[in-house]
Amino acid sequence: MLLLKLALRTLMRRKSRMILIALLVAFGTFLIIFGTTFSGAAHDVSRRSIIENFTGDFIIYAAKSKEKPSPFAFQTPLPNIPNVPEIERYLDSLPEVAAHTPYAQNYAILQVERNGTRLELPFIFYAVDPTGYRRVFDNAQMTEGSFFGVDGSRSNDVPDPSHGIVISEYQNQQYMKSYGTTLEVGDKLTVLGLTQGGVNAASSKVVGIFDPKYYKNVFNYINFLDIGTYSNLYNFTGVQSLPPNLDRRLNDASTNEAGIFGLASDDSLSSIDLNTLKSQALSGYTMIAVKLTDHSKTAEVMKLVEDKPNLGIRVLGWSEASGYFAQIASGLQTFIYAATGLIFLIVAFIFMNTLIINITERTEEIGTMRAMGAEKSFVRRLFISETLILNLTASVIAMLVALVVIVLVGNNGIPLPDTFSQFLIGGGNLPLQLQIGPFIQAIAVTVVVSILATLYPVRVATSITPLEAMNKR
């Protein structure tokens, strides 16, 4: 009680000086709570947003690839993944895998006729299996047409919507700016792709126009091409299966030599009706995005998949696969920690100096207490009490303010400038969730910093002898 009384009254007596310290401590505390909550929320939302719209939990790519998957690697496409169906079968067998979709990144030229003039428009795209892609990612918000007929909402007027291109609204605006034209749903065009053998061409059409929901700063520039057209364009097409009678005869003949030679005399096998053959994309795919039922098992499943022998693949987690996007939230978190650390370093320094000034001014008082029989531990506890009362009071007030702010912001989230929001969390408001962790952190940091900042001043204070009070004139 005596210590508390002395500490409280001393603080009140020196309040003008102490208010500055209290403000700094309060600011630091607020920064810890709000900053940690903000950056934690940004980290969580960013992670969710990237996984949901961008990369899945991890990406599978060819083991022989020299580069890692990146959202911007259109100029240097990754090598094709061998044996995609086998990998997909394996993924299907894993209970942790919720969905997966193969896709490829590439670029091409679109040739369109406008008023008798042929225009060549640059075009970067994801080549996708529309159904699979839509099952994993739902980021393309269709404004016209459909996503290759998968969502079906506006696909009635588009003949054979499963083939074609889906283009972003922003891309169309860029075409207008640079080429004076836009692409409309139903427009016929030729896609020109550059291969090792030269330039290949494939006829196609526009089946949809979309506006990305999230990560506009990436998906505004990315368009979609169906995998069939893509395989055609880059010579990845093969035959899905032989006609059944040929397949059966070949099987039968394979058991003896005479049977093989007997095939030559079979007229029914002398020609194949091409209409009965179904084309198959052998594998133009360069990546497979995998989404899990439980995100906490990402590392475990990644290891499982990568360690599976003979698949010829490697895996890359969502964080790395998103390029620098995941690092923005982590960077922000680091920045907030660093800023908080700096604030508390300044607080500790100012506080230490203020305490030393106080001690110098209170030499007589401390010496008198020591003369009357106060032990060094009493002096030590007195200064630590003063420090803790001041700093914890400031800290608790800041906590209440932070609590009110976080509750008020709540689920509606903090409105962020659009560009910042796009980079940080893919777009939209940032919802904040009240968590106990940052509050505990704030108290712990305040107590630790208070005690550390008091150590040296307390040493000075306890070294004051009663002589200094006795000799004071």
Binding site: K5, M372, G373, K376, M470
Partner: protein, 232 residues
């Protein structure tokens, strides 16, 4: 029985590069219940002697006994405990704790002792407040009191633990002469009544005559020991 005893005590310290001989072989015995003045000019060694009596300084040579215990070998903690129980201090600048009121300042040494109930403390504190005539100033802070009143508080604070000796270093130096005399008279009255040993230093001839015995010091040595006129 001696309250304090110095046996051939020497004290020297360095002031920059100069060696200062504060005490040069002082021997002195002060009996319990005495009212003793240590008189001498500035720098004569009065305060150094008081510091030895008060266990807040140790001799370079010689023996200091307080209540028959040699103090030079006691640790800091033991000296602190010794001061807390056996010695009361009255300072020239009063040295009241500024954030505490009159009552709390006087109660402070009792709280440090941690051996009295609140009731006991209240009774003792009020007794000494009345002794020094400040019953109407109980709630006042130090800055609301006159110099004389502050020194009365300091006297009550020094007495409240009922120590063996009360040391007062130039207790009237910051007071006008009339107030100074009243303070010394008060100490004398308490000495009469309670038989508390008072040792005070002064260079004021008028003040020193109120002691029962005067020890004159000069250049770190005792030059004269006389019973004062007041005692006679």
């Amino acid at each position: 029985m001696n309250a304090v005893e110095l046996v051939n005590v020497k004290k020297h310290y360095m002031l920059g590069e100069t060696r200062v001989e504060a005490l040069r072989g002082v021997s002195l015995q002060i009996e319990k219940g005495e009212l003793l003045a240590i008189a001498g000019p500035s720098g004569s060694g009065k305060s150094t002697m008081l510091n030895m009596f008060g266990c807040i300084d140790v001799p370079s040579e010689g023996i200091v006994k307080v209540d028959d215990v040699e103090t030079e070998h006691l640790s800091d903690t033991e000296l602190t405990r010794y001061r807390r129980t056996k010695i009361g201090f009255i300072f020239q600048s009063f040295n009241l704790i500024p954030v505490l009121n009159v009552y709390e300042n006087i109660e402070f040494p009792l709280l440090l002792q941690r051996r009295h109930s609140q009731k006991e403390r209240e009774k003792t504190v009020m007794h000494f407040i009345e002794e020094v005539g400040l019953a109407d100033r109980v709630k006042n802070k130090a800055n609301e009191l006159s110099g004389g009143q502050r020194q009365r508080v300091a006297i009550a604070r020094a007495l409240v633990t009922q120590p063996i000796i009360v040391l007062a270093d130039e207790p009237t130096a910051n007071l006008d002469s009339e107030t100074g005399l009243r303070i010394i008279d008060l100490m004398r009255e308490i000495n009469d009544r309670e038989k508390t040993t008072f040792i005070f230093s002064t260079h004021d001839p008028q003040i020193m005559t109120h002691a029962r015995r005067i020890v004159h010091v000069r250049d770190g040595k005792i030059v004269d020991r006389v019973a004062s006129e007041a005692a006679v």
